[in-house]
């Protein structure tokens, strides 16, 4: 699936030779390979989850769900749907602002696709390693709302306008607890780099950040509720609200543009569940201490046995996708179990309950290490090795500065 960017670039550099190396062709090709792999991850997750949604909803309602297309369990149903949607007429109502109306679905798709760029699937299997990966993901996912609002506004229909307005009101409020809850495990980790955060939870289920302290444990459930709302999934799907608004923001859409909204929705469901998996549930680590150590050793032994290292990463990616899919399954389960809230109840839930709870959790998570350190007489209670590294860095920076200040003062005195 995804190899490290450097290795592909390095491999292609040898292949391309000196003629074109000045042009950076190998970087472009490596980027293209990454992009193609990511597009597949992005396109296949809706393919799988839409089928899962139909199957799970069928089972919950005591039906069979799709059974015909693709033989066993109707697993090709999404492909049949896709072919049908491509063939449909691409309508644009005369009252709509055509340019905005047509570009809105792409906005939704691009925003949720961009989240996959910094999402690590296994140790080092990430398209772009960013030091502030979590921050970039949250920033990019917040762009998705703009596509929804644009679709609602430009459709020239009051149902769409209501849907868009509800989505705007909902998302402006829910982004706050989402970011604060994501910060709670960050306090424990001391890093925003998703790859580092995942790697720190190696060695057993007790090292997962959900079990790090009571605050992260509660924060996981608050995060999951807020993430469900931020993907506008039931019981928070007020932007669609079929029973009142026909189809909400997508009332006027048809064919492939309509399906782009759902591709974006299901892909961002996987993205937020994947973030939950990395932040709280150990990322690509299995949660069984000995197996984790074995895989870690195999992964790092890439010089002696590259295939073993590759296989360890494949297992890691499998575990990660499994965790993300489990999260998506719970979201589907919630959708077909809980009734939709009213818009004022949605806002009350966020502003009166979720924001205070997440602020309290954040405060508690910052005080918790200090309390533990005082109680156990240890100088610091930040996880190894990153916490130690960070403390050492601060100390180093401070001592260097103090040393240089001293040196400057001495120099002035001599002069």
């Amino acid at each position: 699936m995804m190899l490290a960017a450097q290795s592909i670039a390095g491999f292609l550099e040898g292949l391309v030779g000196d003629t074109f190396s000045g042009w950076g062709i190998q970087h472009v090709l490596a980027a293209a390979i990454h992009a193609v792999l990511l597009v597949h991850a992005f396109a296949l997750s809706p393919f799988l989850f839409i089928w899962l949604e139909r199957k799970v909803s069928g089972r919950i309602q005591d039906r069979l769900g799709p059974t015909r297309v693709g033989g066993l369990f109707g697993w090709l149903q999404s492909l049949a749907d896709g072919i049908k949607l491509v063939q449909k007429e691409d309508l644009c109502p005369p009252a709509a602002d055509a340019m905005l109306f047509k570009s809105a679905p792409y906005f939704v798709c691009i925003a949720s696709f961009a989240a996959f760029v910094v999402l690590p699937f296994s140790s080092g299997w990430v398209a772009v390693t960013a030091d502030c990966g979590l921050f970039i993901i949250l920033a990019v996912l917040s762009l998705e709302v703009f596509g929804i609002i644009m679709a609602g506004y430009s459709s020239g229909s009051k149902w769409s306008l209501f849907g868009g307005m509800r989505e705007a009101a909902q998302m402006v409020s829910y982004e706050i607890p989402l970011a604060i809850c994501a910060l709670v495990p960050i306090v424990a980790a001391g890093s925003l780099n998703l790859g580092e955060i995942g790697g720190m939870q190696r060695g057993g289920i007790q090292n997962w950040f959900i079990f790090h302290d009571p605050f992260t444990f509660v924060a996981f459930f608050v995060y999951f509720v807020v993430a469900t709302a931020s993907c506008k999934r039931a019981p928070f799907d007020l932007a669609e609200a079929e029973s009142e608004l026909v189809g909400g923001f997508h009332t006027e859409y048809s064919g492939i543009r309509w399906s782009f909204f759902f591709m974006g929705e299901y892909a961002s469901m996987f993205a937020v569940c994947g973030i939950a998996g990395i932040l709280f549930l150990g990322g690509w680590n299995t949660g069984l201490g000995p197996i984790d150590e074995l895989l870690y050793a195999a992964r790092n032994n890439s010089v002696d046995s590259p295939i073993g290292s590759y296989l360890a990463n494949v297992i890691g990616a499998f575990v990660f996708v499994l965790k993300g899919s489990a999260g998506v399954f719970v979201q589907i389960w919630l959708r077909w179990t809980l009734p939709r809230l009213r818009i004022d109840q949605v806002m009350t839930t966020c502003l009166k309950y979720l924001i205070p709870i997440s602020c309290f959790l954040f405060l508690g998570a910052t005080i918790w290490p200090l309390l533990l350190a005082t109680a156990t007489q240890r100088s610091s209670w930040t996880p190894e090795p990153l916490g130690a590294r960070f403390a050492a860095e601060v100390q180093e920076a401070e001592t260097t500065e103090a040393f240089e200040r001293q040196a400057l003062n001495d120099g002035e005195e001599i002069q």
Binding site: I25, V172, V394, T400, E401, A407
Partner: protein, 203 residues
């Protein structure tokens, strides 16, 4: 982004720079408020992409989350709540266009001339205690240390003056935001006088 990386670096830079400028022009030219917001999103998003290309991940993500994810969505939300007709058009008279154009040119001249006057320092080489060994684009850690008050990126023997980092400006901005929040809550609060009789009637 190294200079030898012609296709990856400079071509992408050209594309995003062009997108930034053209959509900025489109913001001024278009007449519907929501279309302006759309072009503004493209312009600000391309600016964020330029930051990413310059290996400034943090400022790029901040650009996206603050301007595109925050400010613009609030703007569009405000337009939707207040607009009397679905597609509010803003038409400007020729006089306004001329005055606006002149002001714009004047501003561009001011910016350009002051940019010419600046002596740009050489970019930091990043061989200090913290940035050494870290790959390009990882500006988060030095930024965080600077916000705490430590400046490991400065080399005092090189003639840099001592600095307390960004702690003071950061705190000033925080207090400023708090003042703005309190002011907004004060302006938007429900008037007690009108609320009191209603409560009296209910009871």
């Amino acid at each position: 982004m190294n200079d030898s990386n012609l296709l990856g670096g400079q071509l992408l830079f050209a594309i995003f720079a062009l997108a930034t400028c053209l959509s900025a022009v489109a913001v001024v030219v278009s007449q519907t408020v929501v279309r302006m917001a759309f072009w503004l999103v493209i312009s600000l998003g391309s600016t964020a992409a330029l930051f990413f290309l310059a290996d400034a991940d943090f400022i790029g993500a901040a650009q996206l989350i603050i301007y595109v994810g925050g400010t613009l969505i609030l703007l569009v939300f405000g337009v939707m709540l207040t607009a009397s007709s679905p597609y509010l058009k803003i038409k400007s008279s020729p006089g306004e266009t001329i005055i606006g154009g002149l002001l714009g040119l004047l501003f561009m001249f001011a910016v350009f001339s002051s940019l010419q006057g600046v002596e740009w320092p050489a970019p930091p080489t990043g061989d200090s205690a913290v940035t050494a060994g870290s790959p390009e684009g990882n500006t988060l850690r030095p930024l965080g240390l600077a916000l705490l008050g430590a400046r490991p990126d400065l080399d005092l023997h090189d003639g840099d003056t001592l600095s307390t980092g960004y702690l003071l400006p950061f705190e000033i901005v925080s207090v400023h935001l708090l003042v703005v929040l309190i002011g907004a809550a004060y302006l938007a609060r429900a008037k007690r006088k009108s609320a009191a009789p209603a409560e009296g009637l209910e009871s």
